[in-house]
């Protein structure tokens, strides 16, 4: 639980602006599968559903904590939409993969002219191990800026561009975590056994 060290009235007012602006376009967001289920300073919980599919599956919940906003960025966690518990890395519905630019690499054992294109993926959700609660590795997120690996990319460099705003963060999470879902994946495992007729007398 973060401690509120900035003037709470300032953070509260900025938080309320986020919610008012969200609600002014709430219908638009709802059609995209964004459901605002809780908005009580400093917390917001938005449930994301894959609205393109029928029946529509709920994919994930996103919990925001706007304590100290915007002297500090919001905390963002991918959570179980029904319990609000942050997912461990192994429980994530998906790690918000981003496609990296395709790279040409030489094929070992073949002449140098023989090359193949390889396109990698990089997850926005990062953790040390499957049991850890992952962080959203994105500028504008508290966990990103507090991580020692990002000490050179401070919040103040992003604050004025609105990197921590509610809709901006939801856009990123929805784009990489929900919009790539285009159908249900069904795996059928056939089982082979022997069929017997009536037993002989």
């Amino acid at each position: 639980m973060a401690t509120q060290y900035t003037d709470p009235s300032v953070s509260r007012r900025k938080f309320e602006r986020e919610i008012i602006e969200y609600k002014s376009l709430g219908e638009e967001y709802r059609t995209r599968g964004w459901l605002l289920v809780e908005a009580e300073f400093p917390k917001v919980l938005v449930v994301l559903a894959a609205a393109k599919l029928k029946p529509t599956p709920v994919v994930m919940g996103v919990a925001f904590d706007y304590t100290n906003y915007d002297a500090a960025p919001p905390s963002v966690k991918i959570v179980n939409p029904f319990t609000g518990e942050p997912y461990k890395f192994k429980e994530l519905p998906n790690p918000l993969n981003r496609a990296l630019p395709a790279q040409e690499i030489a094929i070992p054992g073949f002449p140098m002219q023989q090359k193949m294109m390889v396109q990698g993926e990089q997850p926005y959700m990062q953790a040390f191990g499957p049991e850890d609660v992952p962080i959203l590795c994105l500028a504008g997120v508290r966990e990103y800026h507090e991580h020692p690996a990002h000490s050179g990319d401070i919040w103040e460099l992003h604050r004025k561009s609105g990197a921590g705003r509610l809709v901006r963060l939801l856009e990123v999470i929805s784009r990489y975590g929900v919009e790539p879902i285009f159908s249900f994946g069904v795996q059928l495992v056939p089982q082979v056994g022997l069929k017997y007729g009536p037993p002989p007398q």
Binding site: L25, Y124, V167, E171
Partner: protein, 88 residues
Amino acid sequence: MAKNKDGDVDLIIIVNGQPVPIDANANEPLRTVAQQALDKTGNSGQPLQNWEMRDSGGNILDLDRKVGDFHFPDGTKLFLNLKAGVGG
């Protein structure tokens, strides 16, 4: 469709969730509309190339195309958001 009388179309640009009305000329590139929206909302922290504009269907719009090419009806909402950038 853009208004015939003056070639303008009234757009609502939603910058990181903040709506701002823009009276756009059909002959200007969408880039100009995006820059106006950033200026009106005081988003001066990042240059325009770090932003992307999408329609309500989630399709990324080419900022170099003219506004008139898209045949937006008046009141169309377009979403201008900061690009995610490189994570990790």
